[in-house]
């Protein structure tokens, strides 16, 4: 455990050197919120509505900002790093180190996300609030959001690690990474709120785990009526936890099969 925390600390120091990389979000993300303000103000005006699909104007504008915030907490390159490690031969060195590849990748991802929270999330939250104040937020909704997004981080990490392990079989998994990106964008509500999809498609999406990556954390961030029920919050936590356990078990079993196929290329 001590080794793991030392690795997190070391990676954090490395990532900290590139803090300006994260701070570019100050410039990029307000552009998106400006477009959304124009777009949704026009749409709500033409519809002569205060709510559309159960979202107020403020909630609809902030939905996309909240999706960005979730990305800041959960984004990781684990699948690409493992694939690049296989292709370059570097992964052979990682496998002989006294820490598993899973923990190593987790350490690096945690350090990236700590930097992202400090240099992206907190400043962007302040800037966005100055542009369009989130009158729906409460302290409890924010705390619930943070808790759920931590679980979402674990889910996406395990998912990307599983995709990364496919490179033990196919070497380059670029196309799988792209497909994963498209799948998550649609089914997790990262692209547009799930309510915009036809009912039959929403029913399919609700069977998949991806909605717990973006959709439900964002719903709690927006402090929607359904999320104010604490029993519902517990239900979402239990389902998310269940998916994390299932993904972890699959990861362990898949690792045992993948490592037998290990063949480092390059080096």
């Amino acid at each position: 455990m001590k080794l793991f925390f030392e690795m997190v600390r070391a990676y954090f120091k490395m990532t900290f050197q590139f803090r300006s990389f994260f701070m570019v979000s100050f410039i990029i993300d307000p552009i998106v919120i400006l477009i959304n303000i124009s777009l949704f103000t026009t749409i709500y005006t033409i519809n002569n509505a205060t709510t559309l699909l159960s979202y107020t104007l403020a909630q609809m504008i902030w939905y996309f900002a909240a999706v960005n915030f979730v990305w800041m907490f959960i984004f990781n390159h684990t699948d690409a790093r493992i694939s690049n490690g296989i292709l370059s031969g570097d992964i052979a060195m990682y496998l002989v180190q006294p820490i598993s590849l899973l923990k190593r990748e987790l350490a690096q991802t945690l350090s990236d996300r700590f930097c992202s929270i400090i240099f992206e999330f907190i400043p962007c939250l302040i800037i966005f609030s100055c542009i369009f104040f989130p009158d729906f937020m409460s302290v409890f909704s924010s705390l619930k959001f943070i808790f759920l997004v931590i679980l979402a981080f674990n889910m996406l990490f395990l998912l990307n690690f599983i995709i990364g392990m496919t490179s033990f079989f196919i070497k380059s998994n670029l196309s799988l990474q792209a497909l994963r990106g498209i799948l998550i964008s649609f089914t997790a509500g990262a692209f547009i709120p799930l309510e915009f999809f036809p009912d039959w498609l929403q029913n399919i999406f609700r069977l998949l785990p991806f909605q717990y990556l973006f959709y439900w954390p964002v719903q709690f961030f927006l402090n929607k009526e359904i999320t104010q029920n604490n029993l519902f919050f517990l239900k979402v936590i239990c389902i998310e936890f269940g998916w994390i356990v299932a993904l972890y078990v699959f990861t362990v079993l898949y690792w045992k099969a993948a490592i037998k196929r290990f063949c480092s290329v390059g080096g």
Binding site: V24, I28, I35, I43, F191, F196
Partner: protein
């Protein structure tokens, strides 16, 4: 004029080489086009879903918005096919210090860069865009006059000139900062203003998009041209495209006078 013709020939030569190289790996080729089409389709799909669940945009009917999406996809495909390869190229050249070998060539360096942008990924979006435009045209039951089509092509052409100007500015910024980082993301987010009908914007944003930095020329005006709703003031944006292009070339030349090789 001879230089322009030579650079166009250079573009087609490079396109032919890149295409021949790519088609050797057929699965990767078709998968690349498919994935690129999926990513390009996100913006039109977003607007379609928005339109279906709400009353859409003021002054735009359902199939007019479909036509708008078709033109948007066509535009994405066209710009990616013609210039999609420039950003990764300039990022790589500057980072490795290899821009110098472009500077010693007998043609303007920026001309060589602009003619090196062919990227086959955009072909899928072009085909999809044309298909959707054809479908929307059938549903709208309109017949395009020669004037409509000529106006459409005119605005697409000048839209490409504006996009070249944006690309030249990007190249200049990369030469200045050396490490690209997330600069491409900044440009992409700014260009997103053009993905929606200008009617949703108000005040200074709308004015800017119609005049000084006429992003509306990429999708709005070509769509309006096809629908026969083109305002006379739209032709003013053609002049601003040329001015913007001239300024971007001036910016590039200014930076090239102070260029110091980096990387290597």
């Amino acid at each position: 004029m001879n230089i322009c013709i030579d650079l166009i020939r250079l573009f087609f030569l490079q396109a032919k080489i890149k295409f021949s190289r790519s088609i050797m790996y057929r699965t990767d080729f078709f998968l690349g086009i498919f994935i690129s089409l999926c990513f390009s389709s996100l913006a039109p799909l977003f607007q379609y879903l928005l339109f279906v669940k709400t009353k859409g945009y003021p002054g735009w009917s359902y199939f007019e918005v479909i036509l708008f999406q078709g033109v948007l996809l066509f535009w994405f495909g066209l710009r990616d096919t013609l210039f999609g390869g420039i950003r990764p190229l300039i990022n790589d050249l500057v980072w490795k210090g290899e821009l110098d070998r472009i500077l010693v060539k007998p043609y303007p360096a920026i001309g060589i860069l602009l003619s090196s942008g062919f990227n086959y990924y955009g072909l899928g979006s072009i085909i999809a865009g044309i298909t959707i435009m054809f479908y929307a045209t059938l549903k709208l039951q309109i017949t395009y006059s020669v004037i409509n089509i000529l106006n459409f092509l005119l605005f697409i052409f000048f839209g490409l000139i504006l996009y070249m100007a944006v690309t030249v500015i990007y190249c200049t910024v990369i030469v200045i900062i050396v490490f690209a980082g997330r600069t491409g993301e900044i440009f992409d987010k700014l260009l997103r203003f053009a993905e929606f009908p200008v009617v949703i914007y108000s005040g200074i944003i709308r004015f800017t998009m119609l005049t000084f930095i006429p992003f509306a020329i990429w999708v709005n005006f070509p769509t309006s041209a096809l629908l026969g709703k083109l305002p006379v003031t739209a032709y003013l944006s053609l002049l601003f495209c040329l001015i913007f292009f001239g300024l971007s070339i001036g910016f590039w030349n200014l930076k090239m006078r102070k260029y110091k090789s980096a990387g290597g």
